[in-house]
């Protein structure tokens, strides 16, 4: 039994794990972060401050960016659902949208997947399975769909079927994360701990920080009566996740069976403490006695998925409308803001894109990458103070990564301010990560500060690392000319 830590609701789930991340918020956030990384690469390519050749060795101000007089994005404010009828209406609207998508893209497997996922979220797993299977008929090379089907079988307790589907996913995409661990879990649940161990070992090779895989390895060895090994794996899980209550429970079992009652008692105290802390989240649960909020959030996912399809097929206006609606339904969902930012970048509306990234940073203030994009976009829009602030925030949040140091250096070089600091920042970036772009910015900073002796080796190293980059070669030429 799994209890929703926020709402206290009883819902069923596969034990030992907080439900496979099936179409869950976690999965969407992971996807969002992947998208953010991709977007960063695009933004950095399109909007980043570029070195321009000049003759007098002085920093040049770049051409002013175009006159961005974009109206701010108006996002709808949608009231929380408060009646059953509103819930029904919203769910019907979701279905209408997904059906429209099927009509607009009748032979597109993605629209079938969108509909399948929607059915799943609405609890109609029978239809979900139908749509997913139709999607596979059109394109059998969809690992994620096999994975979804497999997780559904797990939920139904059809573990052999689940393993078959997971293996199909692996045939398409070897090394897909979370698959071997679920194969291992399914094998465990169907009483095959020995085979489970093999699968779980593969998972920890792919994902060395997979605490659940280590925990399950403990479980599998426990079932094999290999208590010492079980103990070691539980301890490994706890090393990764010190608050892993299930792993402490495993340690209680293993130590008790090893005859070490004192240790078992000690671990049982830790387990009880963690359990009791987990249960504290249930306090106040009676305030939210329905799942209307969750239903609204779930609807936002449909709007996002449908919006994304339209965006990917060039129907930007339609996509924008749906994604704005998603943002209204779930203002805490970063994916809709990322999708909107993507649209604004395609439409070359950087101010609007910036507005979306600022929203993301409000939702996830501790996530560094959004500050990187905010900094770059702000610089592009000549909002240098905002840009500097964002890069400094990035350095604070990710002091061991070079991006913040490098981009702040680049900003100073562009604006001609704090040039000695720009050089120090660039040096720090190189010290942290010896990559081409860091050497390039260092070369640029040294050159600008008149330190050609340092500039030359830096730019040479950048070219060595990325020989095709024309910017680097231009700078190299300039440094040579000055010499």
């Amino acid at each position: 039994m799994i209890i929703d830590k926020k709402t206290g609701q009883r819902y069923a789930g596969i034990s030992g794990n907080s439900q496979p991340a099936f179409l869950s918020a976690r999965r969407n956030i992971v996807r969002a972060l992947v998208i953010l990384v991709i977007i960063y690469a695009v933004v950095a390519g399109v909007f980043s401050v570029k070195f321009l050749p000049h003759s007098n060795g002085q920093p040049l101000r770049l051409e002013e960016s175009s006159d961005y007089t974009e109206d701010p994005v108006q996002l709808p404010v949608i009231k929380p659902l408060s009646t059953k009828q509103e819930v029904i209406d919203l769910k019907n609207e979701e279905i209408r949208l997904a059906e429209q998508l099927l009509r607009d893209f009748p032979d597109n497997e993605e629209s079938l997947v969108v509909m399948g996922n929607l059915c799943y979220r609405h609890g109609d797993v029978v239809k979900a399975l139908e749509y997913w299977n139709k999607a596979l008929q059109i394109n059998p090379e969809q690992a994620s769909v096999y994975k979804s089907i497999a997780l559904l079988y797990m939920k139904k307790g059809q573990f052999d079927d689940a393993v078959t589907q997971f293996r199909k996913a692996l045939e398409i995409q070897q090394g897909l994360p979370d698959v071997y661990v679920n194969i291992g879990h399914s094998l465990m649940m169907s009483g095959r701990p020995k085979e489970a161990i093999e699968a779980l070992q593969k998972e920890i090779q792919i994902s060395p920080d997979a605490d659940f895989a280590y925990f399950l390895l403990g479980q599998a060895h426990l079932q094999q009566k290999e208590y010492q090994k079980a103990q070691e794996y539980y301890e490994a899980a706890i090393k990764i996740n010190p608050r892993y209550s299930n792993a402490y429970y495993g340690l209680v079992s293993a130590c008790a069976k090893l005859g070490d009652r004192d240790k078992a008692n000690e671990y049982s105290e830790s387990f009880k403490k963690l359990k009791s802390e987990e249960r504290k989240h249930l306090k106040g649960r009676k305030i939210e006695y329905d799942d209307f909020v969750e239903t609204q959030k779930s609807a936002a996912i449909t709007y996002i998925n449908v919006g994304r399809m339209y965006r990917e097929n060039g129907k930007l206006a339609k996509a924008e409308e749906l994604l704005k609606q998603a943002a209204g339904l779930d203002p805490g969902n970063v994916v809709c803001f990322l999708e909107l930012a993507t649209i604004y970048q395609i439409k070359k509306e950087p101010a609007k894109a910036l507005q979306m990234y600022k929203k993301i940073s409000e939702i996830q203030p501790e996530y560094p990458l959004s500050y990187l994009v905010i900094g770059i976009l702000s610089a592009h829009l000549n909002r240098y103070d905002d840009s500097e602030e964002a890069f400094r925030k990035l350095i604070t949040l990710a002091p061991k990564k070079s991006d913040g140091y490098r981009e702040l250096a680049r900003l100073y070089l562009k604006t001609g301010q704090n040039l000695p600091e720009a050089q120090s920042l660039a040096e720090k970036a190189v010290a942290l990560e010896a990559i081409a772009t860091n050497y390039f910015v260092l070369g640029w900073a040294c050159y600008t500060n008149g330190d050609n002796a340092k500039a030359l080796p830096a730019i040479k190293r950048a070219i060595q690392l990325d020989p095709d980059n024309q910017q680097y070669r231009l700078l190299y030429k300039q440094i040579q000319q000055r010499n």
Binding site: R10, D124, A256, R285, D290
Partner: protein
């Protein structure tokens, strides 16, 4: 002469009407070798009981968890009778006639007569759990009903009638939401004490409804505060004293559901196991004097293998692997496996559900009544699981499961594994209702164990065991003299050649139900019992030797009496 005097091959015509279709069904269904087969004989029984949960659309949580049933021989005629608990109208519900618990007298030949009124056991309270035992040691079986509201103790007057003496006895237990209840002799003083589990602290004022995907549904146990359980010591004069504080029971609050009291550590006293809904299960270990220590976590029965709370429902015990120790089987919520906790004999249990296959087929359903019984008399205990979703509209928001569903039979292979043979289990296993309590006893005295299931908002299901017999059997009824009269808590060891079986008499077990006072042992091809040992609770150990198989025997304390029935 084939046909004479209304009998064919020694069977009455009436019996033939029952037997022949069953045989035809067995033949037609062509069960795989080793299958366990049940026939649905509900219609033949004349039982008219319809369970009500007292609902009116308000979704009060108590509706979702009622009720249990009891199988016992109330009139001492050698036939096991049936007592169904019933719900009662909750706020907003109206009935022309108040629903009552109903007692059905077993007339033999699968005919039952409603004797509720005559017996005076038609309680109109909201029935949840039930246990049966001779608390006043007067030689007949009394009934304790654990209600939502005041509880009832029906003292058997010995003439087929009962009198509610709960208030006089001091066990009405206030106005709580009840759950399982057990009679046990916790202090080995020869009379039966009473354990009363409580589910949660529900009132109309703290009632709530939840939604899933916007669809209304019953709230969960965690939406209500937990309750401690209650324990009453028998004063030996027809009254009881509340000892839940001094016994250590009250220290532990939970969300009690089913359970069973048994001697899990084999130290000669009775411990108490209580399954908690979405919370750690309790094993109250008895020190022999009626003082208990809760040890569930450390001994390994509080959580499932992974250390997660289960939506634990019913629990029963039995020695599934014939190693001489009582193991525990426990049912649970949907999308969880049921749990089989193997007793390692060293004070620890291990969850062997997955490696034994004891959870096969259970994950789709909410599971309730259960027991480990040797249905095919092959010398090892199989498992029956009663299923039915708690939410009556679950399909609207999650159609991985269904509200109405079939029950499950898991056959013990004899090698430590279970196989789901439900699909080959005859028409009795095809019934799809919303099962709750279940009881297991030999209703037709033919040497195999039949099944009675209480279904929520519906009539019961009566299943006749028509399994192709794999062997001999023995049924044992105990008769205490110094110790409690029905040997509740007594430990019985049966040795037949290479086979050693154990069991105990339990009062209150499974999902808030009571059954199995005559112990049933399947023997396979062994045709003689070498030895039976009975260790009486609070008494000595008696040994009986060289006993014939295929009979019901009564073993009397001190070995003074042994005989059929």
């Amino acid at each position: 002469m084939i046909f004479s005097g209304g009998r064919v091959f020694g069977l009455s015509i009436g019996r033939l009407i029952v037997v022949v279709p069953a045989l035809l069904c067995i033949w037609a269904c062509a069960p795989a070798d080793g299958a366990i087969v049940f026939s649905d004989v509900t219609k033949e029984t004349s039982i008219t009981f319809i369970h009500t949960d007292g609902s009116s659309g308000q979704r009060y949580i108590v509706e979702s968890v009622s009720s249990g049933l009891a199988l016992f021989d109330y009139d001492g005629d050698g036939n096991v009778d049936i007592y169904f608990l019933n719900g009662a109208p909750l706020r907003g519900a109206k009935y022309d006639n108040a629903p009552t618990n109903e007692l059905y007298r077993n007339e033999g030949g699968w005919r039952f007569t409603n004797v509720t009124e005559r017996a005076g056991v038609g309680d109109t309270g909201y029935g949840l759990g039930v246990a049966v035992g001779d608390y006043d040691n007067d030689g007949d079986l009394d009934i304790y009903v654990n209600n939502y509201g005041p509880n009832v103790l029906y003292r058997n007057n010995g003439d087929g009638t009962f009198t509610d003496v709960a208030s006089h006895a001091g066990v009405a237990n206030g106005h709580k939401v009840g759950a399982a209840t057990h009679f046990l002799d916790m202090d080995k003083d020869g009379d039966l004490d009473l354990f009363v589990a409580n589910y949660l602290d529900f009132t109309y004022e703290n009632h709530m409804i939840r939604t899933s995907k916007g669809i209304p549904k019953y709230a969960g146990p965690m939406d209500f505060p937990p309750m401690p359980n209650d324990l009453y010591r028998n004063n030996g004069d027809g009254t009881f004293t509340d000892v839940n504080i001094e016994s250590g029971i009250a220290e532990h609050k939970g969300w009690g559901m089913g359970g069973v009291s048994a001697d899990f550590d084999n130290d000669g006293d009775t411990d108490i196991y209580i399954a908690n809904d979405e919370y750690a299960n309790f094993l109250f270990q008895n020190d022999g004097t009626g003082k208990f220590e809760e040890t569930g976590l450390i001994i390994g029965v509080a959580y499932d293998l992974h250390g997660d709370d289960q939506g634990s429902m019913g629990a029963d015990c039995g020695d599934y692997d014939n190693d001489g120790w009582l193991d525990i089987y426990q049912t649970s919520y949907a999308e969880e496996l049921t749990a089989l906790y193997r007793n390692l004999g060293n004070g620890l249990f291990e969850d062997v559900t997955m490696v034994t296959g004891a959870g096969a087929g259970t994950m789709e359903y909410v599971t309730w009544g259960n027991s480990m019984v040797d249905f095919d008399n092959d010398g090892d205990r199989d498992i029956f699981v009663a299923c039915g979703h708690l939410q009556d509209n679950v399909e609207l928001y999650n159609n991985t499961t269904t509200s109405f569903c079939p029950n499950i039979i898991l056959m013990n292979t004899g090698e430590g594994k279970f196989i789901d043979v439900s699909d080959q289990g005859g028409d009795g296993m095809k019934v799809k209702l919303r099962s709750r309590g279940a009881g297991f006893d030999d209703l037709d005295n033919d040497g195999d164990v039949d099944v009675v299931i209480l279904n929520s908002r519906s009539g019961p299901t009566i299943l006749r065991n028509d399994s192709p017999s794999k062997g001999h059997w023995l049924q044992v009824r105990l008769k205490g003299v110094k110790t409690n009269r029905d040997g509740i808590g007594a430990h019985v060891k049966v040795v037949s050649g290479d086979l050693t079986l154990i069991d105990e008499v339990h009062s209150g077990r499974g999902y808030q139900s009571h059954y199995g006072m005559r112990l049933h042992f399947g023997l396979g091809n062994r045709d003689k019992i070498d030895r039976i040992e009975v260790r009486w609770i609070g008494g000595g150990t008696d040994v009986f030797e060289n006993i014939a198989v295929d009979q019901l025997i009564t073993l009397t304390e001190s070995g003074s009496e042994i005989g059929p029935r």
